[in-house]
Structures are given as structure tokens and as C-alpha cells.
Symmetry: C2
Subunit: 426 residues, 2 copies
């Protein structure tokens, strides 16, 4: 496809999305919820047909020699589709936040001033492999009263097209504009470049995928990006920690799953309790095959642990997001050094302190500059569902607009509203 | 100055700001308020010295042939300085929003999840002429716990340097880091290019100035920009409006001052009351020398008004921000057409409906896609002070992050905080 054709396609999608967004912004909650419930029904009714479309993607992936774990991520199993359907139903059951009025107060002039929650307008979502993201993004977009343009990975194009057809059908049955959710129909890479450079049509871009993709999009985008780079998450075991709790929480934070961005990648331990705590947690890691990359002091304390894989840490280790059975371990003098180390090396995703000391807890909460800061809990909790947001479209490691897990409110904006009785400015 | 020197200066400012921002983020409210009160005292004590520094800028401006209204904007009169001092005192008296915890709720897992308000970090401010903006930006930065880098206009460099010295003295007296507020010491234009492209040091850019400046900065910035483009504000007089009130409010919205961005530039009138209302408001405008650029129907209805300057409106007039005694006038069939016209032509700054009809008021509030939407009030109220924000660093016509007048909260971000008792993820 030549660049001109792609431009024409993307401009058309943009204009249609912009037009649909005005209708979505004033759509009744009942219509949006109906679309979500219809979509849930269609996902269940069409499970067989969806799997047929999905199988074409799977065959192409296998023929191209994709590794089986990557092929797995492409699969629309009945279980995956049922989870999508349930997600839609949960969103339908949630209260509608659009039109919510906050902080209405009378001012000295007599006018009453507050803020009304409204949709952002149009968002563009760029994602790889898993086709179920198409349904997650579409359903959040419908509930939040936005319009969206979805650009999935080329490896899932047949599955995404089939899912997008169901979304359009659901929008139509609910009397909502069919262009409220549009899938980019071409796999041409130029379409991404266009999508992120249409400020006249698109208000924000949400990329989901590898660091390379997100860095490239952030660099080239002409509109704001809700971006999520690394999750180099830390857990700090304070000198006053309950060590029984600490053992359980650190184990969970590192080993419950290795691949999520909220898994702990770096363990900091207060020097005064290290001789007691490190061999205990070291034995847990050794039993689970977790490689430990240690500062010299930690290395010395862990030498006696049977079966442990111990490696001296390099400077690079303190910045690394492993997403694997590897953890970096460093002794610190106390909460001050822990905070300083984290603010220097972390990716500002999620950090936890394990402590019984109130002052240390408060200082950690206030001074650690990350999107989620925790006391006595596993970093694995950093997640939209666990935070009660109902759904999550991504996790922002930025400070601007949304920070941390982004749910429906992250897709909205607050405009000022003023109610008067004929007041004038003097 | 060569580009390398400018780079070195800006990198140094950036690193110093970043370091200072961590100290400001945890600074006690008392220290921040003390700095503001000391600054107020210094502005009063040093009024004479400041005027001496200011006179060098004024002489240079006159020698360069600057028009007298432009020279006026540069003046640091005792009145201007007293207003700055009072602004600092008002900020000091306001509650501190940093550390505020919002929405803390227990989740099914047992963890309690809320959000804590924290400073954004470092903002860069780029502005023209008026040197008092140096104090406004510095004081808001101090109160909000941020660090900032200020880049004023070259025409005010001596005044800005003198004011920045007082700010540094106030920070030092209060025990706060002196680099929390830094003025770019060079007038080299390359410094702006550098300031907007240091994402490692600067979190957000706030430009204040002409549309050209803001468009240029938005295009080239590598960090988010809180931007304020035009204020093409509308007032719509509904068929059910109280016409006595409408006359007073429309008059105020257009003529109380012509230059502010929140002055009404376009008047929409419901056709059914136009024959009654237009000649009345037309007479007011005629008496004040306001030129009326009218649609054909409005033109016909205004023909009989003595002394009126009537001009047929062109398509361009509906998009124009005049900032002058000129108003465009158009008849519409009712609230639907008014909303559609506004959403097509407005700059999404501020729009008002004058009506006694509840349904029309609610629809206008909800469907008009602007940063401030008003019922029965003058658009001139769109202002941080009038909205009770205590101060205003700018007005955002964007939807992302801050929208409308930006006060202290617009310079903050919300991070998630999680309090647990050893919970783990299952």
C-alpha cells in the first residue's frame, strides 16, 4: 500500500472518530451499558466463529516460525473470550462517571464554580499480539464515552477484525455511532506514524507493548502519550520490619509471577537485620531457582545458603527490569539510603517498604517518587483491578495527567462549569 | 554566546533544578510559607532598588523604539510590586495541598488504596515582557513544592534578574534550596530550545505569550506543555433568556475589558428573541464604539441602530479572537444550533448560555466542549482568582492534565499509595 493511501485511510478514520466522539460524549449511560452487554453476548454466541478467524492468525504465526509462547499469546480460547465477556459485563455494572460534578462552591462574586467530568474525546491505542486487548480497549472506550482508533499487531489482524466487527454490531444495536470504535484495517507500519500525528482528530495515544515501541511512539507523537516504560520495582525491608511478614511479602513480590511489570526486581535490606533476614529469603529464592545479583555485603551473608545462584551485582543491575527469576539485592543503612537509592535507580513504577515504624512508613510514602508507593504489601498489587478501578487500560509511569494504573477516570478530563444568576465582572 | 555554552548553562540549570525539586517536595509547609512572606517583605523593602534595575530595561526599550503601551507592560511600579507582595502573602495564607490524601478505600484483598498529591517536579516557564510574572511563577512554584526554571523576555532581563535575586534570598532565609527557582541568565534564543527538550530534568513547560510563541513551543517540546492558545469565547442568548439580565451580562462580557482572553468575541442570539434583543444590545455596542460583524439576518435587525458600525461577517469572523472593540453576531435557531456552532468554531476556552430554561442550561453545560462552560454569567469570570484557585499560572485550552485556569493543583500530580498489613497477591 502506498503512503498516500494510508494517509487517506487514517484521515478518514480520524474524522469519523472525531464525529463519533461528540455523540458518545452525550450518549446516555443506558445506551453505553447496553452496548457492553450486547458485546458480552456476542462474544459468547460467536466463540466458534471467532476461533475460526483466530486460527488463521495462529497458522500464519506458526508458519512464520513464531515461538510457541508467542503463539499462545495470540490464542482466543473460549476461556479468554469468556473473560472478555465478563469484563464487559463488569464495566456495564459500574456507575457512569461522565457528567459527574465535583467541588461546586460559591465564590465571593456569587457565581458557583465546579468541575464536570467529560470524556477526553478520541484516543488511539497501539498494541501488540494479544487480540483480547481489542475488547478491553473497546469496552473502556465505550464506558468512558470516548471514541477510539485501535491499531493491533499485524500478527493478530484476522482476530482483531473479527472482534471489531462484533463491537460495531454491539454499538449499532445500542443506537450508538458505529465509528465510536474503529480498527485500523491495514497492517502497514506507516499507519502508526499517521495515528500518532493527527492532533486535529486524536487527543491522546496509549501504547501497550515493548519498551522499544513505547520509546519510539513517545519520541514521534504529536499528541500526549500515556506511557508505561519499565517496571524496575523495589521492596525495602526496614530495620523494624516484621521478618515473618517480610519473608512472605518479598517472596510473593518476586516469585508469584516473574513476567509482570509490578514484580519486584530489586531487594533492599537494612544492614542491621540483614544477617538474620537474608539467609532466610535467600533459601526461598534458592529453592525456586531465583538468581541473586548481590552487593558485596549481601554476597557474603548469602554464601552459606545451599543451592543459591549468587552473582556479584554490576552497576547496571540496579537499573535492570529482569522480568525473569533474577533479583538484585543490596544492603542499605536505613530508610534514608533506601529512598535515595530508589529515587536514583527506579523506573518510578512501584516500590514498597516493609516496616513497623510509623515515621519510616510516612517518609517512604511521601518521599519515594514513584507512581505507586506501598507499605507492608506486595508490589504485585499495583494493578487497576486490585486498586478498585474496575478495569485498566495501562499503567502510566509519567506524572502528567494519569499516574499509575489508568482506569476509566484516566480517559476523562475535568472542565470547569460556572452557574450564575446574571453576575458580571467588576 | 555559542551553542555549546548555552547547552552547558541549561544542563547545569536542569540538574540543579532536579536536585532542588527533591528537597522542595519534602519541604515543610512552614518553610515554604516563610519563603513567601520573606519574599513579600523584600519586594516592599527593595522597591526603590528594583525600580533602578527596571529603569535600565525601560531605557533600552525606549531606545529601541518600543511603543509606549509595550514599555508600560515592562514597568515595575510601586503598585505592581505591592500587588506581587500581596500575592505572595495570599499564597502563604492558603492551605498546603502537598501530601493531601484522597479517596483512601479498602479493597477486597485487604489493602487500602488512595492517592497522595505530590509536586510535578520541575516546570519550565517561558514568558514575555511583564517582569511581575517572575514573582507569580516563583511564588506558585514555592507553594506547590516544585522547582522551576524561568525564562523571561530579553527586554525585561535586568528586572527579572533583580527579582530572581530576591527570590533566592527568600529561599535561603527560609532554609530552602536556592536552586528551587532559577532564572535563565542568558537572553540567547537557543536557551528556549534547550529548556523545552530536557525531559531528564524538566517535567512540564508552561508558555505564556503570543499564539506564535505557544505554537512554536508546542511543536518542538519534548515534554508536556500546558498551553493556552486563543480565547474565541461565545455568549449565547437563548430564546428563554431574561433579556434585562442578558443585556447586562453580554455588555460586561464584551466591553468590560477588550484585551483579556476571556472576553466574549462572538454573540449568538436565538432567532425568536432577536428582533427584541439585538437592537438593545446593538445600541449599547454603538455607544461604546464596538464594531459589529453580523450574519445577514442580524445585519437587517441592527440597521436602525443609531451610530452603529455594522459589517457583514465573513466565514473567518466566526473563528476570530479580536481582543478589540469588535464582536461577531449570528442568529441561531436555538440551543442545538448554538452548541453546534460553538463546537465547530470556538477555541474551547470559555462559553456562556443566558437562559431560564433548565433543560437548555443542562444540555449546554454537558455538550459544549470547552474548558469553562457557564450559565447566566459573564465569560470574563474565567480566571483562577474568580474560581477560588488562589492564583493562576495560566489557562489551559487542552484537555490533558489541567484544563481551564491552572492554579496550584495543576502543578501537582497524584501518586497511588497502598497501606497493607502484609497482604500478598494470590
Amino acid at each position: 500500500m502506498n503512503a498516500l493511501d494510508v494517509t487517506e485511510i487514517m484521515q478518514t478514520l480520524g474524522l469519523q472518530a472525531k464525529t463519533a466522539s461528540a455523540l458518545m460524549a452525550k450518549a446516555p449511560a443506558a445506551a453505553k451499558n447496553k452496548a457492553l452487554l450486547v458485546l458480552a453476548r456476542l462474544l459468547r454466541e460467536q466463540t466458534d466463529a471467532l476461533q475460526t478467524d483466530n486460527s488463521r492468525d495462529l497458522e500464519r504465526a506458526r508458519a512464520a516460525g513464531l515461538a510457541e509462547p508467542m503463539v499462545d499469546r495470540l490464542k482466543l480460547t473460549p476461556k479468554v473470550l469468556e473473560t472478555c465477556a465478563q469484563g464487559c459485563e463488569q464495566l456495564a455494572a459500574m456507575p457512569d462517571v461522565i457528567g459527574e460534578v465535583l467541588g461546586m462552591k460559591q465564590q465571593p462574586s456569587g457565581i458557583r464554580v465546579g468541575q464536570m467530568r467529560v470524556p477526553i474525546g478520541v484516543f488511539g491505542m497501539i498494541y501488540e499480539s494479544r487480540p483480547n486487548v481489542t475488547i478491553e480497549a473497546a469496552s473502556l472506550s465505550i464506558k468512558s464515552g470516548n471514541a477510539c482508533i485501535l491499531r493491533g499487531g499485524s500478527e493478530a489482524i484476522d482476530s482483531n477484525k473479527a472482534l471489531a466487527r462484533l463491537v460495531v454490531q454491539a454499538l449499532q444495536e445500542a443506537g450508538l455511532p458505529e465509528h465510536a470504535v474503529q480498527l485500523v484495517p491495514t497492517t502497514d507500519r506507516e499507519a502508526v506514524g499517521q495515528l500518532i500525528a493527527m492532533p486535529q482528530f486524536v487527543d491522546v495515544i496509549i501504547p501497550r507493548g515493548g519498551k522499544g515501541l513505547i520509546e519510539r511512539i513517545s519520541r514521534d507523537a504529536k499528541v500526549p502519550v500515556i506511557k508505561h516504560l519499565d517496571g524496575n520495582c523495589h521492596t525495602y525491608v526496614d530495620d523494624s520490619a516484621d521478618l515473618v511478614m517480610a519473608l512472605r511479602v518479598v517472596d510473593n513480590a518476586k516469585t508469584q509471577k516473574y513476567s509482570p511489570c509490578n514484580a519486584t526486581e530489586s531487594l533492599l535490606v537494612a544492614r542491621s537485620i540483614a544477617a538474620q533476614f537474608l539467609p532466610q529469603i535467600g533459601a526461598v529464592f534458592a529453592a525456586k531457582g531465583v538468581e541473586m545479583r548481590c552487593c558485596p555485603e549481601a554476597l557474603a551473608l548469602l554464601q552459606g545458603v545451599a543451592g543459591a545462584t549468587l552473582v556479584p551485582a554490576t552497576e547496571q543491575d540496579w537499573s535492570e527490569e529482569y522480568l525473569a527469576p533474577i533479583i538484585s539485592i543490596k544492603l542499605v543503612s536505613g530508610v534514608d539510603e533506601a529512598i535515595a537509592h530508589i529515587n536514583q535507580y527506579s523506573s518510578q513504577h512501584t516500590e514498597a517498604i516493609l516496616t513497623t515504624n510509623h515515621i519510616h512508613a510516612q517518609r517512604f510514602l511521601r518521599e519515594v517518587d514513584s507512581s505507586s508507593v506501598m507499605v507492608n504489601a506486595s508490589t504485585r498489587f499495583a494493578d487497576g483491578f486490585e486498586y478498585g478501578l474496575g478495569a485498566e487500560i495501562g499503567i502510566s509511569t509519567d506524572k502528567f495527567h494519569a499516574r499509575g494504573p489508568v482506569g476509566i477516570e484516566g480517559l476523562t478530563s475535568l472542565k470547569y462549569i460556572v452557574l450564575g444568576e446574571g453576575e458580571v465582572r467588576s
